[in-house]
Symmetry: C2
Subunit: 309 residues, 2 copies
Amino acid sequence: MSEADFIARLRGIATDPAARGLADDAAVLGDLVLTHDMIVEGVHFLPDDTPQDVAWKLVAVNMSDLAAKGAEPIGVLVGYSLGDDAWNAAFADGLDLALRRFGALLIGGDTVRVPDGAPRSFGLTAIGRAPDGGVPSRGGMRPGDQLWVTGTIGNAGLGLAMRLGQLAANETCLAAYGRPQPQLTFGRAVAPHVHAMMDISDGLLIDARRMADASGCQVAVMLEAMPLSAALLAVRPDVLDTRIAAATAGDDYQLLFAAGAEAAPEIRAIASALDVAVTPVGHAVVGEGIVLTHHAQRIVPPERLGFTH
Amino acid sequence: MSEADFIARLRGIATDPAARGLADDAAVLGDLVLTHDMIVEGVHFLPDDTPQDVAWKLVAVNMSDLAAKGAEPIGVLVGYSLGDDAWNAAFADGLDLALRRFGALLIGGDTVRVPDGAPRSFGLTAIGRAPDGGVPSRGGMRPGDQLWVTGTIGNAGLGLAMRLGQLAANETCLAAYGRPQPQLTFGRAVAPHVHAMMDISDGLLIDARRMADASGCQVAVMLEAMPLSAALLAVRPDVLDTRIAAATAGDDYQLLFAAGAEAAPEIRAIASALDVAVTPVGHAVVGEGIVLTHHAQRIVPPERLGFTH
């Protein structure tokens, strides 16, 4: 049973509405939103990432799922694989810092020891309070909707390349990789105005494609509209390859959302009040899959739309 | 930072009442009970355990924590490390079976790939509905209370030895190791009548000691009273060493609870109605730690009271 078949099988088990068909970022149980993400050494983080950064990432990736559902963090349960004494101490510092930053309480979890030398896995379950007006799903995008992103895209991917020594480092990109900032406040504020929302964890293109698939429509992305940071443009020219790389790199933890054109003024007002950049990068049409353009030129989508595992 | 220091540090972070000082089997959030346990290949299960048994164990260990809090299962989020195709398919079967058996819904989770050849970790967060009369903690045992256990003790430990080929196999012990049966129905029924309750996951002695520590009193365990199964006594003589081995073996997932002597008739009536064996195995006194006797002879507690990790 391939991974796709496995997940399809799980969807067959997860028939309760709370599960949202396992096709969303989070489950919705009454007025609670619950999400669980794992990170694995050598897959989701580097063996020499600092323990503080690993703790931050573990919390942040789950907080980003809550942000995408407009939820307010309540608490977390942590599954922790013990390291050496210094690692444990530094991880605890990072966990404390991240939980304070995002306003989430540590309420439980488990501590295990993995066999010597084995890569370690960490899990975190985050529980949040659902927004009053209902929890936006991935699947609510409608033909005619505008597709928006928060912040800038591609910094974290460059940050990873810098961490791997493939590129001269700059602080903005390294921080985007090491300390992603989930858009909790904006997500909560914008939730009543969107038709669909999710976070960009695996890459703008793959996540936009997932939103299109869940919504039963086609999404058209204008690559030239995708917001790139000054830090990224300082090391990369603004050409198509740069934009494709940024759009498929993952780890940005910005929000991707679809809303009717009539909501645009309110969305811009919320973003402005919260000092969050928002940019329309495309729109939804009848059809399926993803269509890319670059300055009105049709672009064949790359085979790899983003990160899978 | 040693593991004990690490957990102490986490307790310093987990100051919210919902966390119960990280000293309980589960967190309590409003009318929900939440627990998260991880299991690691080569530590909590054998690399050649069947995927169905691994799935069952992952669900059952968490259901046992809900049972100990008198909670009714609602749903689970699963953190899954992908295996090969046959393993994934068999795990999905086992997960489906276990969730149906315990009345829990699959509502979410995450799927990851670990590096080739690395031991795999699985996490599960279980959410349950708290019992109406309040959630029993580990820390409510009072001097004078009777200490009770459900079922029999030591079958799973022998089952593990059988799985490892150290002993001729019998089905009862193998099943106790491979397919533990959390006492959900009994736990829910008895919760209003207990002062403290927890599940026996790491061994009767270590878990009784933890209850005593959390309650600020001493627990006295009469080893001769500890219920052993016919299957165990068929392969082991009823001598002190057998009883110490059973009491320190872990994986039984029976319930350990403390209640006032006046509750005994009601506890026996509930157990009888549900066809669950219950046995008083000791009592609580003023003091600290654990005291063991065998036919009124004081026994020095073994250095290793049970399984840690």
